[in-house]
């Protein structure tokens, strides 16, 4: 995939222009790092809204419904992490029909409840460790997977609500049960294919 395909015209992604100190003109491009940062900002904001305004409000404040990983069986809300993953899966499915849009993202952790969400590639392992050790900083690198080169960005995923921390600490499959509010509990990994 050509680099040109990885960068969007500013006209098509007005949202990104607000990230830059310089106002972009039609036909200008957005650097791949800025694109990853912008994607993460949207993901993180949506995730935060779902966690605060839906799950925490209905489960903890108004106490009208539960949230459960077995949401179908328990007739409950989907967990914030599942909401995030379902979105990632839908993006992949929909992006297949958009040849100029190509990126993937996932939620991972050094202490995953589901072991399939543990870091696997070198970039994931280093990135997740870096964001856990360096609060407030992101990790950027390039890696090659299945013959394709990717720009890979890792962002910290922090336990913001008591419900995040308590649920992870009590889960039967958790490898870590002493998370506190504000701890980095995992990371969001965004991949954008670059070069050929």
């Amino acid at each position: 995939m050509k680099l040109s395909k990885l960068i969007y015209s500013a006209g098509a992604v007005l949202t990104f222009s607000t990230l830059s100190t310089t106002v972009l003109a039609a036909g200008d491009t957005v650097p791949v790092k800025a694109m990853a940062d912008a994607l993460h900002l949207v993901m993180d904001s949506d995730r935060s809204v779902y966690t605060r305004k839906i799950v925490n409000r209905l489960v903890k404040k108004e106490k009208v419904i539960k949230a459960s990983e077995h949401f179908e069986d328990d007739k409950a809300l989907v967990l914030p992490a599942q909401m995030f993953r379902f979105g990632a899966e839908l993006v992949q499915k929909r992006a297949k029909k958009l040849p100029d849009v190509n990126f993937t993202y996932s939620l991972q952790s050094l202490w995953p409840i589901n072991k399939q969400n543990a870091p696997k590639t070198k970039a994931e392992k280093e990135g997740l460790k870096f964001v856990a050790d360096n609060k407030g900083q992101n990790y950027y690198t390039e890696e090659t997977l299945g013959g394709q080169k990717y720009f890979t960005a890792v962002y910290a995923d922090t336990g913001v609500a008591p419900v995040c921390v308590s649920c992870h600490n009590k889960h039967k499959d958790t490898p870590k049960d002493d998370f506190k509010i504000g701890d980095v509990m995992g990371g969001v990994v965004i991949r954008i294919p670059v070069g050929m």
């Binding site: 077995h70 899966e89 590639t121 997977l145 009590k170 039967k172 990994v189």
Partner: protein
């Protein structure tokens, strides 16, 4: 002499070759039955449609993505969460590139190779039995109860299913671990169609408003009414069709051969039923009974089946009317008698000696309330909750008999758990002898999955307590 005749022999040979070439080319392009080109026998799941190569191969014949689309056309509904714990979407992230080198789980054919009958097990899987090891090699660390177990035992009956694991995942086992063999209030799911008719947007409300009809309302053309057997109108009047406004023309007026002009037909096919029962017909065409119709082939006959069938039924054509007698549409007949008209295997023949049949008889005789009896359809075509589209969930009869079979643990949640506890259900379905005698007795095998889940749960509760 031989030298003299040689040119003639060559000419005959050439003509023969040309004739054969023309014949096979015609067969390949225009013929319905292309099985002569088949490289090896098909599995039980596909043999009915083996003569239609393009049903699976598509137009390109060998394009992997087109073939995958063909798999999804028929199997896609069941290959999504929550019915599939390993949907394709789980593997498409590039971080799985290394794993896909072992088994490319984004393509069905990686594990289900066709035309290789010697490789396939009874569920059509052609991978080595220990395939789980590629992703779950550290399972014993998470589940100490699994220590020492070999990876070729993961998918043993009652333990794990790669696709439909809905009745077998740990939290579900724990939730249902203490249930009795028979539940306190066993009952099958009730019918719903009549009560939701108004909500079904695809129902032809305008043409056939929901209202009870009488003999006076019969709308067959005059020339048909003259010849109509009285038994037909009598049968029709006793049905839910007459009670809900489905008149003669609802089924008998069909657009023939793709035209838009409906004409009277004496023998309406499944497309007539589809007008009101689209979900049921869609499922029917996904199962072994109707999959030939899905591919526009002639209807399946019991003679084509690999299961034992009654010889006198060999020529029966399988469409909606084969099980639902036309005009009468007696659901009790469709639920037992229609099945036993054809099926001749041990399990079917043992049904009338089973306690399930005893309950069914008592329900029919009014000795037990509705929903107490267990017919063939109760288990093989159960009423299930189905998302008929993105916005609506309905209770429908699952007319795809395979939705609750192969592997048979798929039956546990939609069927067995209406009446039985989970442990009893898992053990019963794992007991081949019990399956063959139609569950006449108690299971003689025990699957350990609930015991193992219990152990892990105790360990977990202790850890929380210690914290």
């Amino acid at each position: 002499m031989s030298e003299k005749n040689s040119p003639n022999i060559w000419l005959i040979w050439l003509a023969l070759m040309l004739a054969l070439s023309v014949y096979f080319t015609f067969l390949l392009i225009e013929g319905e039955d292309k099985s002569v080109f088949m490289p090896g026998e098909l599995t039980g799941g596909h043999h009915q449609i083996g003569i239609a190569c393009d049903a699976c191969h598509g137009e390109s014949f060998s394009d992997k993505d087109e073939m995958q689309d063909k798999c999804v056309e028929c199997h896609g509904e069941q290959r999504q969460k929550p019915f599939d714990s390993h949907p394709r979407s789980k593997f498409t992230d590039p971080r799985n590139a290394d794993r896909l080198k072992n088994i490319d789980a984004t393509y069905c054919v990686s594990c289900h190779v066709e035309h290789k009958p010697d490789l396939a097990d009874k569920t059509g899987v052609t991978q080595a039995k220990d395939f789980c090891v590629h992703c779950h090699q550290e399972i014993a660390e998470d589940r100490p109860s699994h220590k020492g177990m070999e990876f070729d035992t993961c998918a043993s009956a009652g333990c794990h299913n790669y696709h439909n694991n809905r009745a077998l995942y740990t939290d579900f086992l724990v939730k249902h671990m203490d249930e009795p063999d028979v539940l306190e209030k066993p009952a099958v799911v009730e019918k719903e169609f009549a009560s939701v008719l108004e909500e079904i947007m695809t129902y032809p409300h305008a043409s056939y408003p929901v209202k009870a009809l009488t003999h006076k309302d019969i709308d067959a053309p005059a020339n048909i009414q003259v010849k109509m057997d009285k038994a037909i109108s009598h049968d029709w009047k006793s049905t839910a069709h007459a009670k809900s406004g489905a008149n003669c023309t609802s089924c008998h007026m069909q657009a023939i051969d793709g035209t838009n002009k409906p004409e009277w037909t004496n023998t309406p096919d499944h497309t007539a039923c589809e007008t009101c029962h689209d979900v049921e017909v869609k499922h029917f065409k996904q199962g072994k009974h109707g999959m030939r119709l899905q591919q526009n082939l002639s209807a399946m006959t019991p003679a084509d089946a690999r299961l034992p069938m009654k010889p006198e039924a060999y020529k029966k054509k399988l469409d909606c009317n084969s099980c639902h007698q036309p005009h009468r549409y007696n659901l009790q007949t469709a639920a037992v008698d229609s099945c036993l008209e054809c099926h001749n295997d041990k399990h079917s023949l043992a049904y009338k000696d089973s306690s399930h049949f005893e309950l069914w008889n008592k329900e029919l005789n009014g000795e037990l309330p509705n929903g107490s009896g267990v017919s063939c359809a109760t288990c093989h075509m159960p009423r299930v909750s189905v998302d008929v589209n993105d916005w609506l969930r309905r209770t429908v009869v699952q007319h795809n008999q395979n939705a609750t079979l192969t592997p048979n643990e798929k039956m546990i949640r939609p069927v067995c758990l209406n009446c039985h506890g989970l442990g009893f259900s898992i053990d019963s379905l794992a007991d081949e002898k019990l399956v063959n005698n139609n569950f006449n007795g108690k299971p003689s095998v025990h699957v350990e999955s609930i015991d193992l889940a219990k152990q892990d749960n105790i360990r977990h509760l202790k850890r929380i307590q210690d914290d």
